[in-house]
């Protein structure tokens, strides 16, 4: 049997994996990274490219006053008390350094900063996510200390006599390979959006949702850690992101006109939720509606307020692609999306009246998104509807870890030699989700895992 040895063995070639691999290499460790599929990038490369950072130069240039403390409290608030506060603190304390590290490694952020789900101030830092992974992969390769093995699937964690995790058994081109790690094994293998059976086990009401993610996201890391008694958390909070067109196969990203002032109505033409909530909560609410679908209703002004530099707010491109339903009147729009005309007209009228009179519309909506932005009426033709359902882009739950990214077993004890970072871990998001915190978590936690490996 082929064997290989390194200091840090990373399972998974997404953002968490490469952030860890490069950080470890910078510290002089020898790293092997295994990627199950033929291409690196995973779900990270397919994502919307949003990272949540606070206090950055980009925010200052955009006149945005933000801080690690505000980010910390926002993360706790959006997680509805279900987050692991220690992990949230790790995120907040290390995010700025991670942003600067990404910039130093050639990652280019768009100059515009937008506000999105769960953010009191605009803090979406946008990148081309596939390019970000390429930059880190390139830097890792140039370090001379990182070997990447594609189409190599880790199957089992290997324990030494004392119980320490010392390597993995992997499959490579039909052969079994043993890989040993002198310092640690890092699970950065993503979630399990492509294991529908496992998803069904935790959230059966999501059977009808759209699932989008890296092809390799089948829960490999979770299962391997489970086999060693690892604990998991937040499985009840797997949620889809609201705003995915239910039948369009071209765009994988959500469109969130609600965060620019649109309302969401169901097939019966009625609003059903405070549209400023986290898009995870909106996704959950949407899945409770008939056919698991809703329509984001907006007017010309909201359409024009879109931002084609931020994928989730790029309305113009989706309009060009024919994904918006357009009509000169709300009556006609109702006919085209087959909702009862009078109900839709009454809903929009009631919403507009509340906004114009400075009252809080039904469901307690006070802002465009979270605590940010003033509500606006929907009154200038043409009118648009964006059919929307929930898309599960990530599972956001997973292994219990501590602030050093050590995986804990069901008795709360760290499993020696086993680290985890990225989508495979639970604890950061809690009950809901802030835009940009999943990619942010991947980069930040990946780097911390590498720092922990140095100490082992």
């Amino acid at each position: 049997m082929n064997t290989r040895e390194c200091d840090l063995l990373v399972i998974g070639g997404g953002l968490a994996g490469f952030a860890a691999a490069l950080t470890a290499a910078e510290a002089g460790l020898q790293v092997i990274l295994l990627e199950k599929t033929a291409e690196t990038g995973g779900s990270s490369a397919m994502s919307g490219g949003c990272l949540a950072f606070a206090g950055t130069d980009l925010q200052r240039e955009n006149g945005i006053d933000d801080s690690a403390q505000l980010l910390f409290s926002d993360l706790l608030e959006v997680g509805k008390g279900e987050c692991d506060e220690a992990l949230v603190k790790v995120y907040a304390d290390n995010q700025l350094a991670t942003y600067e590290w990404l910039c130093a490694n050639g990652v280019v952020f768009a100059p515009v900063i937008e506000a999105a789900s769960g953010q009191s101030v605009p803090r979406v830092h946008s990148v081309d996510p596939a390019d970000m992974i390429r930059q880190l992969e390139q830097a890792a390769s140039q370090s001379g200390r990182v070997q990447v093995f594609k189409q190599t699937r880790a199957r089992r964690l290997l324990r030494e006599k004392g119980g320490r995790v010392g390597g993995v058994l992997a499959e490579q081109a039909g052969e079994t390979v043993e890989l040993f790690a002198r310092k640690a094994v890092l699970l950065a293998s993503g979630g399990f959006v492509h294991d529908r059976e496992l998803v069904h086990r935790f959230v059966p009401h999501y059977d009808g949702a759209v699932f989008i993610g890296g092809a390799g996201n089948e829960g490999d890391g979770l299962r391997m850690a489970w086999a060693l008694g690892a604990d998991v958390r937040d499985t009840a909070y797997i949620k889809g992101t609201f705003g995915k067109h239910p039948v369009d196969e071209t765009n994988h990203h959500a469109c969130l006109a609600v965060y620019k002032g649109a309302i969401a109505v169901n097939q019966e033409g009625r609003r059903f939720v405070d549209e400023s909530l986290s898009y995870k909560l909106l996704g959950d609410a949407c899945m409770q509606q008939s056919y698991g679908v809703a329509y984001q209703i907006l007017d010309r002004d909201i359409m024009l307020s879109g931002d084609n530099r931020v994928r989730i707010l790029d309305f113009e491109r989706r309009l060009e692609e024919g994904l918006f339903v357009e009509a000169d009147t709300l009556e006609k729009l109702a006919q085209l999306i087959e909702v009862p005309e009078q109900v839709l007209l009454a809903e929009v009228a009631a919403y507009n009246q509340a906004v114009n009179e400075g009252r809080t519309p039904d469901f307690g909506r006070r802002h465009l998104v979270h605590q940010h932005g003033q509500l606006r009426p929907i009154e200038r033709a043409p009118f648009y509807a964006y059919p929307s359902t929930a898309a599960v882009f990530g599972t956001y739950c997973g292994l219990c870890i501590d602030a050093q990214m050590r995986v804990h077993d069901v008795f709360g004890e760290p499993i020696e030699g086993l680290l985890a970072a990225g989508e495979v871990v639970g604890g950061l998001h809690g009950a809901a989700y802030m835009t940009g915190s999943a990619l942010g978590k991947a980069a930040i936690f990946g780097r911390i895992a590498a720092a922990t490996a140095q100490t082992l």
Partner: protein, 261 residues
Amino acid sequence: MRILLLLAGVTDIRFPLHALAINEQGLIEEGDNARRILSPFDEAALEIALKLRDTRDNVQVDVLLLGGTNNEALLRTVAALRPDSVRRLDLQPACLWDAQFTARQIADLLAAEATPDLLLIGREFGDLDEGSIAVMLAQRLGYSLFALTQHAVWQGDTLCLLRERGTSEESLRVSGPLLASVTNDRRNKLRHPLMKNVFEAKRMTFAAVTASAGAHTGLPLISLEAERMVERGGTCQLLEGGIAQQAEALAAYLNDQRTQA
């Protein structure tokens, strides 16, 4: 106005091509794993019909979809867009390579039904790029033909069909029964179905009609082979440096190519 759509579907080339063979009767047999989707021209014809119905209460859109592999899925795809009716059209026998014979089969069937005011057909119906089925069908039915239609609009109560020819756009006022073959255009990109209708289409059953014209006595198909794979070649060069450097490198490359030519 009654609009009848003839839709055929094409093989979905995003997936490996399925097995094809000629059986003892000289007919094409396709493997069960064949995937068919609407062609861009089918989609264009469907969208034109739906758009015409969107703005008029008295427009009826009926669809005849060519039978064949995975026809259930294709029927449901069309039904989710809510035409007034969708039926499967079985050609008996199916000899799509013989345009004259196919046109006769369909014309005989349509002659026995209520006459549509407008017959829309994708320009490559049956996957014959030359579009001859549409031409021959119009002739058989005694319909006027307007080929390569790109767009249709109501002008008052009059229907106008439009197409581009060279640098001009031709507009035709429809005054009698007409067959229009349709090509794709940015104005007739097919809409997406509503989820509500996707769900409802999953529960539908579909009627079938058979178009037969006795035994096939026309053009015999004697062989059928998989298309040769096209070998792609060429070199790729990444331009590096700033914009000016890249432009300079590109200009030098193009000049070099011209010199070689």
